[in-house]
C-alpha cells in the first residue's frame, strides 16, 4: 500500500511539475474558446469587407442596397448577428461585411459594354484601390419578365452566401415594386411580406422552458474538447512514461522493489490525480470567468444559465473521470507491450481512431441527441462517457440512460484495468520484439 502510494506520489509530482501540465492547465481553456470563437469572429468580421458592384438595369433597387443607418449596424455583436440569422427578419438586410457600389443603369444603351470595366476590376491585383470581389447584374427586363436570370460574377464561385443574400435582396425589392405597381399600398406590402421570426425553445422534462439553445452547439464542442483532449494527452504521457521506464531500465529497479500490480495501480492513480487537479483548476477558472462573463452577458441580454445547467458541471466531472481512466488504461497497455515510443504510437493509432468516433460524430449527435444511434453510443463502453456527456448538455436524457452509461463505463474500466495488469505483469518485463496478438492472448491466460 505504501509502495503503491510512493509510485503514485512520484508519478503525480513529476507530471505536475512539467511545463506541459502548466501550459495545458492554464492555457487550454482559452485556446479552446479561441478555437471556437475565432472562426465565428472571422466569419463575422475578419474576412474584411467585400466590395461588390451592383449594376441595376431596372433603376429601382437603390434603397435595398443602401444601408439606412451605418453606425448602428457596426455595433452589432457577432452573437446578435448569429441570433438574427437564425430567427428570421422583417426584411433582408445588407450584410455588414459587404460594401456595395450601386450603379443605376436604367436606360443604358449597351449594358454588356457597360459591364465590361466592372468585370475587369474583379481580376485586378488584390491591393488595387478599386478592386471588386463581385459584380451583381440585374438586367432591365427583370422588373417585368419573370424568367430573366440575375447574374453574379466573382473569382471564386464558392461565395454562395453573398450570392444568395444579394439575390434575396433583389427578389424581395422586385416583389415589392411589382406589388406597388399593381396598386397595393406600400404599408400593406410591408405587412404582407413580413417574415416571421422563429424562436428556439428547449423543453425540459420538468416542463421548464428555455431559449437560446442555438449556442449549445458551440458549448458542446468546447466541453467535448475539454473532456477528450486531456485524456488523449495524458494517456500518451502515461504510455511514453512506461516505454521510457523500460528503455531506461528503471523498470528493473522498480520490479525488484514493487509488484507489477502495485506499480500499475500507483501509476494510474497518479495520472488520475493529475487529471483531477487539471479539471479542478479548470472548473475554478470557469467559475471565475463564468461569473464575470455572466455579468457581462446578462448586460448583453444573454442568460448564461439558459444554456448551461449547473448539473452540466457534475456530469462533466463524472464523465471526464470515466473517459480519462478508459483512455489511460488503453495507453498503458500500449506502453506495456511496446519497446519504443514509435512502436507504441503505431500500436495505439488504430485503437484511437475507433475511440475518437464520438468526436467525429459530434455534429449528428448534437443535432439528434435522442436518436437511436446517439443513445446507442452513449450507452456503449468506451464511447459512452463523451457521447453521454454531450447528450446531457444538449438534451435531457432519462436518468436511467445516465446511470447505465456510468455503470457500463465503470465495468469497462475495471475490465481494462484487469487486462492491463495482466499484460503489465508479463509485458513490462519482456524486452525485444513486440508481441503478436496470439502472444498477447497467451499472456492474458498465463499471467
Amino acid at each position: 500500500m505504501n509502495k503503491m502510494f510512493a509510485v503514485m506520489k512520484r508519478e503525480y509530482l513529476q507530471a505536475v511539475k512539467k511545463k506541459m501540465f502548466i501550459i495545458m492547465t492554464l492555457l487550454f481553456p482559452f485556446l479552446m474558446a479561441a478555437l471556437v470563437a475565432i472562426p465565428g469572429f472571422i466569419a463575422a468580421k475578419g474576412m474584411g469587407t467585400k466590395r461588390i458592384a451592383v449594376l441595376d438595369g431596372t433603376g429601382k433597387l437603390q434603397a435595398a442596397y443602401t444601408r439606412p443607418n451605418e453606425v448602428e449596424k457596426t455595433n452589432e455583436t457577432a452573437q446578435q448577428e448569429a441570433r438574427k440569422a437564425l430567427s428570421g427578419r422583417s426584411q433582408p438586410e445588407l450584410p455588414t461585411q459587404m460594401k456595395v457600389e450601386y450603379v443605376n443603369q436604367a436606360g443604358a444603351a449597351n449594358p454588356d459594354a457597360a459591364l465590361k470595366p466592372y468585370l475587369e476590376r474583379i481580376t485586378r491585383d488584390d491591393d488595387a484601390p478599386d478592386k471588386l470581389e463581385g459584380v451583381f447584374v440585374i438586367p432591365a427586363k427583370a422588373a417585368t419578365d419573370q424568367d430573366t436570370p440575375l447574374t453574379f460574377y466573382s473569382r471564386s464561385s464558392t461565395d454562395f452566401i453573398a450570392q444568395e443574400r444579394l439575390g434575396k435582396l433583389a427578389n424581395k425589392s422586385l416583389q415589392r415594386s411589382r406589388l406597388s405597381e399593381n396598386g397595393v399600398s406600400p404599408e400593406l406590402v410591408e405587412n404582407l411580406l413580413r417574415d416571421l421570426r422563429v424562436d428556439a425553445v428547449q423543453l425540459s422534462r420538468t416542463g421548464g422552458k428555455k431559449t437560446g439553445g442555438e449556442l449549445n452547439f458551440v458549448v458542446a464542442f468546447i466541453f467535448g474538447a475539454l473532456l477528450m483532449l486531456p485524456s488523449l494527452v495524458y494517456g500518451q504521457e502515461t504510455m511514453r512514461g512506461i516505454v521510457q521506464e523500460k528503455s531506461d531500465r528503471v523498470v528493473e529497479v522498480l520490479i525488484s522493489s514493487v509488484t507489477p500490480r502495485q506499480l500499475l495501480t500507483g501509476k494510474i492513480l497518479g495520472v488520475a490525480a493529475v487529471g483531477l487537479t487539471q479539471i479542478f483548476v479548470w472548473l475554478a477558472m470557469i467559475a471565475i470567468i463564468g461569473g464575470y462573463g455572466a455579468a457581462t452577458m446578462s448586460m448583453a441580454d444573454i442568460n448564461l444559465t439558459q444554456f448551461i445547467r449547473p448539473s452540466v458541471f457534475l456530469y462533466f466531472f463524472i464523465f471526464f473521470i470515466l473517459a480519462y481512466m478508459t483512455y489511460v488504461c488503453i495507453y498503458a497497455i500500449a506502453g506495456a507491450v511496446c519497446n519504443t515510443e514509435k512502436e507504441a504510437q503505431q500500436f495505439v493509432m488504430p485503437i484511437m481512431m475507433v475511440m475518437m468516433m464520438p468526436w467525429f460524430l459530434m455534429m449528428p449527435i448534437v443535432l439528434n441527441p435522442d436518436a437511436p444511434f446517439a443513445i446507442g453510443f452513449s450507452l456503449a463502453p468506451v464511447f459512452g462517457p463523451i457521447t453521454m456527456f454531450v447528450r446531457t448538455l444538449v438534451t435531457e436524457p432519462p436518468m436511467w440512460h445516465v446511470l447505465v452509461s456510468i455503470a457500463v463505463s465503470l465495468v469497462t474500466i475495471a475490465a481494462f484495468f484487469w487486462i492491463t495488469a495482466k499484460i503489465f505483469r508479463v509485458g513490462i518485463l519482456s524486452y525485444g520484439k513486440r508481441p503478436t496478438l496470439p502472444e498477447l492472448w497467451r499472456w492474458l491466460k498465463v499471467a
Binding site: K3, D248, V253
Partner: protein, 304 residues
Amino acid sequence: MGEILAVRDIRKTFGAVRAVDGVSFAVRRGTITGLLGRNGAGKTTTIRMITGIFMPDSGDIQWLAGGSGSFRDRIGYLPEERGLYKQMKVIDLLLFLAEIKGVRAHRDKIGQWLERFELTDKRDAKIEELSKGNQQKVQLIGTLLHDPELIILDEPQSGLDPVNMVLVRNLLRELRQEGKTILLSTHMMAEAERLADEIILIHGGKVVLEGTLDQVRGSFGKNTLHIDFEGDGAFLRDLPQVKRAAIVNNAAELSLAEGADPQAILQACMPSLRIRRFEVASPSLEEIFIEKVGTETLAHEEAR
C-alpha cells in the same frame, strides 16, 4: 556459515535461445560470491530471475534468510544498465528508491552516502546532468539505502574510473565485514579475484566451475610460471611444455601443459635470458577463466 539463497536447476528460454540451462548454486551468508562469465553467458538472466524480474521456466529460487519482511524489501539490486529516472533530482530519486523498498529514508543518511561518494554538490542536480560514473554511484547508493541483507550487483564497476573502482571495492569489503551478503556479477576477473570469497563460473547457461577462490585455484594445481627476465623471451612461447603464454616486455606468464616440469623450463631459459624472478604459482582467475571457457574462441582467433 548458513546459506541465505539457494538456486536450484533454474532454466530460462527466450525463443530458441536457452539463456540459462539448469543453473544451481548457493550463496552463503556474509560472503562475496562472484558470478563470472563472458558476455551473454547467462549471468544477467540468472540475476533477473533471482530478483523476480523474470520468472524461471522451471527450477526454484529459495530465500533462506529467515526473519520477517518480504524478499523484495531485503535485497538491494543494482542492474547492469543504469535504471534511473533521468528527469529527477538526485535527492528526490534516492528518497523514492528507498520508499519503494518500504523505508522512509532520512535525508541525513542520504547526505552521508552522497558525501562518501563525493556527490554532495550534485544533490539537487538532475540525473541526466550527471556523468556516467556519477550516475552509477547514485544507483549504488539507491541499492544500499534501505540497508538490504543481500546485495545483488550486476557489473557494478562498469563506467567507473580507477579511483571510483577502489572506492567501490573498499565499500564492498566493508559491507561484507558488517555481515552483508553480496552476489557480484562481473566479467572483470582481476576484480573478482580481489573481492570474491566464492566463485561461480557460468558458460553457455550452465555452471562450469564453482567453489571458494582457493579451492578453484588449487584445483588447477601450481601450473603457472611467472618469469621476469632480461633478453628476448619470445622463444618461451614455442617451448613444448608451454600451453599458453602471455609475454609483455620483460615479464611472462606461462601456463604449463599437463605434467610439465617447471625445472625444465628454467633450464631452457638459462642460456639466453637473465632471470630476475621465477615463480611457480596457481593460475590467476583470468587464466582459469580462459582455460575453462575461452579456449575454443582463442583457438579460433589464433587460427585466423
